[in-house]
């Protein structure tokens, strides 16, 4: 391998390179600021790797297109923002229901509607969780740096493959467009996960089998398994079933399939959190300002800490609960009208007081604003 070089690159580029390093060989998308660079890079690089890029006619088509490609065994990605992510929702639900591996990058911009195309925001936290109709499981990962745009996209692809699910990489405009110096890992240092494929004869194959793994094997189209994929409720064989017992069994497996693997799926970062009396819960670009605030205030002897969820969905609930036992106050700074705070309140409400610092005017939250808020509650 070539020796590692320091490079100055954008978050969106790191994301695209992470995807390709993880084995993504199919991308479908539709241009939208601030995610477009990802499509541009994929259009240039994928064909060199023998992969495919297609610019579809809209975002739901892009989502549908990657699901189709995933069924042939390819690792797949799409990227969009704001209105485009809204358009994808019906097809994201289809991927949840049919359990087709795929990764959706959302470089968040200010919304709703056209909102602010070049303005940063973190207003899609709840959309990522509940954007499509009906109960469904989802994984969303939230990078805070250019380096993490690379590593978390690799993780997202691996999770999609391992758990047969759509996975969001939930960036924001600041992270996507920011340039940072990074030394990216070499290909041979990257852990790659491939989906489980059936080895049984085709007449015994059950694409939605309920067993102790909760994650059934998935056959590539064109390999003789001749299976049926439908967004209707289906039994273990994949064919539609309206039987309440079947619906309930499959629904339960679907809704609990990540619980079994929470040790691997949940990740977060703590800074001075153990003994913190005031705990910040911050993610994405906002966590960078929160980190600065913690470092400055600690040097003044104020016991502040940071809990940064990297896996936003499912939320690392247990750990935050433990930290909340010690902290009296929790502050959640977010670039929205108050979204993740709802989850933090749910988890911590009996243990600590929870307050928010919300900014939704297109400007980032500064360390000074966070410090001001902390001094206010001291």
């Amino acid at each position: 391998m070539t020796s590692k070089k320091a490079r100055l690159i954008q978050g969106n580029r790191a994301c695209a390179e992470g995807a390709m390093a993880a084995g993504v060989r199919f991308f479908a998308g539709y241009p939208i600021t601030p995610s477009t660079e990802i499509a541009e890079i994929m259009s240039e690089e994928l064909p060199k790797l023998g992969g495919k890029f297609i610019q579809m006619e809209d975002e739901i088509a892009s989502m549908a297109c990657i699901i189709g490609a995933s069924l042939t065994g390819k690792k797949v990605l799409t990227a969009s923002s704001g209105p485009g992510i809204s358009l994808k929702q019906e097809a994201i639900g289809y991927a949840c229901m049919t359990e087709i591996p795929c990764v959706i990058v959302n470089v968040q911009r200010l919304g709703p509607s056209t909102g602010g195309p070049t303005s940063s925001a973190q207003g899609d936290i709840m959309q990522a969780r509940w954007g499509t109709h009906g109960d469904h499981p989802i994984i969303a990962l939230c990078p805070s740096s250019v380096y993490e745009c690379f590593t978390l996209t690799v993780t997202a692809v691996n999770f999609a493959e391992k758990y047969r699910t759509p996975v969001y990489v939930l960036m924001d405009e600041i992270i996507g467009h920011m340039r940072e110096k990074v030394i990216l890992p070499n290909i041979d240092e990257i852990k790659i996960v491939n989906r489980k494929r059936p080895t049984c004869p085709s007449n015994e194959y059950k694409p939605y089998q309920i067993d102790e793994t909760l994650i059934p094997a998935m056959a590539d189209f064109g390999t003789g398994y001749k299976w049926h994929v439908t967004g209707l409720f289906h039994d273990e064989t994949g064919f539609p079933s309206g039987k309440p017992k079947v619906i309930e069994e499959q629904f339960k497996r679907l809704m609990t399939k990540f619980d079994k693997y929470s040790d691997e799926i949940l990740s977060w970062e703590e800074t001075e959190a153990e003994d913190a009396e005031i705990l910040l819960v911050a993610y994405g670009s906002t966590a960078r300002s929160a980190l600065d605030a913690v470092n400055i205030l600690r040097s003044e002897g104020i016991k502040v800490g940071l809990f940064r969820p990297i896996t936003i969905w499912p939320f690392p609930e247990k750990r935050l609960k433990t930290l909340a036992e010690k902290a009296n106050k929790i502050i959640v700074p977010e670039m929205n009208y108050g979204q993740l705070i709802l989850e933090v309140e749910r988890i911590c409400k009996d243990k600590a007081s929870v307050g928010g610092l919300f900014k939704f005017n297109s400007l980032p939250i500064t360390p000074e604003e966070i410090m001001f808020k902390i001094r206010e509650v001291l």
Partner: protein, 273 residues
Amino acid sequence: MRPELQKLFRMDKLPHIWCPGCGHGIITRAIAEAINESDLDLDKTVIVSGIGCSSRAPGYMHFDTLHTLHGRALAFATGVKLANPELNVFVLTGDGDATAIGGNHFIHAARRNIDLNIILFNNNIYGMTGGQYSPLTPTGKIASTSPYGNPENNFDIPALAIAAGASYVARGTAFHDKLLIDCIKEGIKNKGFSLIEAMSMCPTSYGRRNKMGNAADMLNDLKTTAVNINVAKKLPPEKLEGKFLIGKLHHKPYPEFTQEYDKLIAKLQKGAE
């Protein structure tokens, strides 16, 4: 059913959900006949559909089958075909599925001339949801959402497909099933976007409201209203009023999308050596 056709169906999933007299069963059988006569690798054949009565057909067919979202079948199929051009990909869709909610995907898939075989079951109505008017419900006809007669105009599906870039376009009917089989076979041979409009009939949600008689009467309507394009060429225009054409309407091969993309890959990878 003949044994060689039986192997193309999931016999354990039959009987189907369609109403007695529905045209969709005849068209589904025609598709199986065409596949059977086309010598395709059945393991490498994928059937994609959207949502509607017609889109339920793949569930009965013994292939890799993908029953997707209302209107989006062509977008899913584009992903399947581009990701693995070795696969033979069929798309089964309804008039509502393909030309209303899926109209944009329809013209863009045609524009790319991607190698898909589309069989569009046109029963002039939204059958599955109980008979609301579709872009193919004739002006003036009664539907549950056009109780005073449909005030809108129709698409001419073959003209739309040709204008958008389809390289093969044909039309058959549930009555002219032999012709329909031939059209589908020819579509399979065409390397590119092949659109076969299959005129179907929905006695339950369309025929009944418009007093078109029973299924046999509706089948007879298809028989008497359709004119083979080869015959039509020799007829004066007034004889064609109120009729529709069947047979091969357009065939103009030109470079196919996934093949062109593979050429690009080969070129880039050669350049890198």
